[in-house]
Assembly symmetry: C2
Amino acid sequence: MSGHRVKREFSDMGYRMTRQRAAILEVLSGTPGHLTADQVYQRVRRKCPGTNLTTVYRNLGLMTQEGLIGKVNFGDDRSRFESNRGHHHHLVCLKCGRVLEISECPVHLEERLLKAVGFNLIRHQFEAFGYCEDCGGGSAG
Amino acid sequence: MSGHRVKREFSDMGYRMTRQRAAILEVLSGTPGHLTADQVYQRVRRKCPGTNLTTVYRNLGLMTQEGLIGKVNFGDDRSRFESNRGHHHHLVCLKCGRVLEISECPVHLEERLLKAVGFNLIRHQFEAFGYCEDCGGGSAG
DNA sequence: ATAGGTGCAAAACCTTTGCATCCGT
DNA sequence: ACGGATGCAAAGGTTTTGCACCTAT
């Protein structure tokens, strides 16, 4: 069972550790992927039957807000959630939807640019779209 | 009236140039911003009363697919559309929602990285979030 | 004339909200 | 016990779909 750390963190913030919350944190900690709210819900119900989708939404929102988990958007109309495992970015396959993760950050916003427009940077997101190895990757089209 | 070029392009692709489509392309060409489908709809109706929201959605989808316009997502639950005016990125204010555009691309995905994971890159999106000048920009928190 | 496009209504889908009940502390 | 958290139902908002009518070519 994973997720000890986040559970502890969440408790320490003053939130109650319910069965549902424990299940949500376990699901995310134990999954390398990027789950939609509904996917989290399906998996949570295997650990904690009867859990309501509303509860999942409420907690995903809360945990995202508290910075315990990450929320990404791959251009479709729903959010995806992932455990917080450091700054990283995504390569999304336009055909099969597979998501490759890259830990190297290819984004370098220069200080002087931000200063020039008076912008105080908090976070950034970067997603690349294309075709994975199985769907026509490499340098071929 | 703007949008001559895109209208011509769209026609040349074999699509019929209806009043509604002309209005949509004019609205986007004449706007520097990033409009939600509903915002496009409101403006289109001023040029072409009676136009239906469904029509706007259908055409925004079609035009995006054909690469005539761009579609972005700023993390909230709706898409935004913009005329295609070259590669650029966005700085989104977390407080007032203002969007600054930067034409300089701070993303440099290395060829060897892509080759290593067998990914054929088609496009990428990058959005930065923080606070604009009026909402606490600069280097201060 | 005819296929493509539109309008309308309805639905699909994701997400949020209100409120009574429940349970972690 | 108490206040926070959950479940249920219902609604909200965006986007899609089906189908009859219209219109650009």
